[in-house]
Symmetry: C2
Subunit: 340 residues, 2 copies
Amino acid sequence: MNPSTQREMDPVYSASGLKAVITARIRPDLERIEAEIQQHLDSSVPLIGVVGSHIIRSGGKRLRPLLMILSARMCGYQGRGDAALAVVFEFLHAASLLHDDVVDNAEVRRKQPAANTIWGNPAAVLVGDFLYSKSILMTVGHGNPRILEVLTDTTTKMAEGEVLQLIHADDLELDEAAYLEVIIRKTAVLISAACRIGAIFGGADSSREQALYRYGHHLGIAFQLIDDLLDYTGSATELGKPVGNDLQEGKATLPLIYAMANADEADRVRLRTRFSADRIDEQDFRTVRQIVELRGGLDYTRRQAVHHLTEAKAALSVFPDQPSKETLQMIADYVLHRRV
Amino acid sequence: MNPSTQREMDPVYSASGLKAVITARIRPDLERIEAEIQQHLDSSVPLIGVVGSHIIRSGGKRLRPLLMILSARMCGYQGRGDAALAVVFEFLHAASLLHDDVVDNAEVRRKQPAANTIWGNPAAVLVGDFLYSKSILMTVGHGNPRILEVLTDTTTKMAEGEVLQLIHADDLELDEAAYLEVIIRKTAVLISAACRIGAIFGGADSSREQALYRYGHHLGIAFQLIDDLLDYTGSATELGKPVGNDLQEGKATLPLIYAMANADEADRVRLRTRFSADRIDEQDFRTVRQIVELRGGLDYTRRQAVHHLTEAKAALSVFPDQPSKETLQMIADYVLHRRV
């Protein structure tokens, strides 16, 4: 790792201290987001409210709506009309989680049974469809054609990303570029769209819009890299889902991809055997994790995350110093240090 | 049945003659629709093209895009820019079929294996999401805010309708009003939206927009009523899927609902037993069909379809006579006489 990059990423606060500081800063915005979510979860069809609440109230961090609000404020927006648009990003995120859980046959999400395990796949698919449609309808109501264009382009790319990931399921020969393409489409596009749409909403010129888009793009990539790293290094209790989940589901993520590219043939065979097994046990996962660590997969993934977070923060340099900018920088720092 | 209604619905042509006349009239429009579909099925992700083509090229009647085009022409539109918007309705329809098949665990659709049986539920869910997003993106590109509002309101209602239907699965106590609510939301809203959006696209005033909406609304209800009737009376060869499908899937449709309301207790018990069985055989289905017929469920459903088709045609009375109006009337007649 480049020493100057390392220094730049040294947290001023401890991870938990950072979390506390961010939480205090964003509390008023979070409260507005929660109030707005509450208002839109109603439907004349009760099951929609029940399943929708389950996924939306299960402890999401509201990262996407928050980024939209902070981005709008960075561009001079001072009003309170931002929350109504911001929650669209949480609803879209929830819709994609519901469909993801069906696709992955997930059993647990955020320490709770996944919606599909309680209400079945049909309900998860259809309530996902509803949340998705409702999000777009809410955005249409907002009446800004550019925002709609960016948002629907985003959801189309996300769907392509999900299909791409499906195609690459059980594919251990996936290379880093293809992996990056998947995580950009499935994760980074929605996060960068939240930032970009916040900028458009805030009346930004194109250089500021572009800057916030770049912040979101790199933050989104780093967010997914850390997610994929935590699946190897996290604790099941903290994550609210089993570790080794990606390996179990046949998803080759960067820690494993890098290790495969840098292992000797004997280790590669060990990795392949576990990767293609129908079911892996604790011992299998420990073996894989050991090889991944030994071959530098964990360090490399973390370095890549640091790189993208550095880029994310650098993108903000066109903005003058202000509280929202500090919060966005702290969020970038927190992405690296989060345990959940 | 009211004798004048009966007379009004007497076909001028035989069913097959009617089909031939309609086909000849709509051929140029259908060709433009097919060309446009072809152009939009591309994606950088090959699986999307493959699954998308499977569902979109499997012999759909293109009813929805056609209705949009005819409605626009009814309101004076003469250009060729209508097809680009019209295909949105076929894509949305395809997206909903893909998700329906996952929800219903369908094995066959239009004489072919359902997409989920070939590529699995995950691909069907995600390609459905893609087609859905792409449809909205295409509509956004068209740049008419009212059209977008009607369309996204429609897709939200459709999703609610699908969830409603799911809630009512295995519910033989469903009454006619609740059944009507489900078929309006799951089928009629998209058909009426195609007509209404055609009118908006064609620059209609509000009375003509409303008239075409009403045409589509009643046509859509009748279309689904006949669909539900054919599930009792059709032949598997013609339908391209097994008859008795709804009964097997635990869907109480009007023929059965009416029969339940008008049967004696002994017949009700017979119906309930078959309806709640995990698997029904040929003999069970014949028994149910016999009771449904005897108790007037088939006749009543057909009469309701006739009523809605009469309403559909009556809605067109605000328009002067013209070829498109004749075609819309013929389509209404054909809905009643179709075997597939």
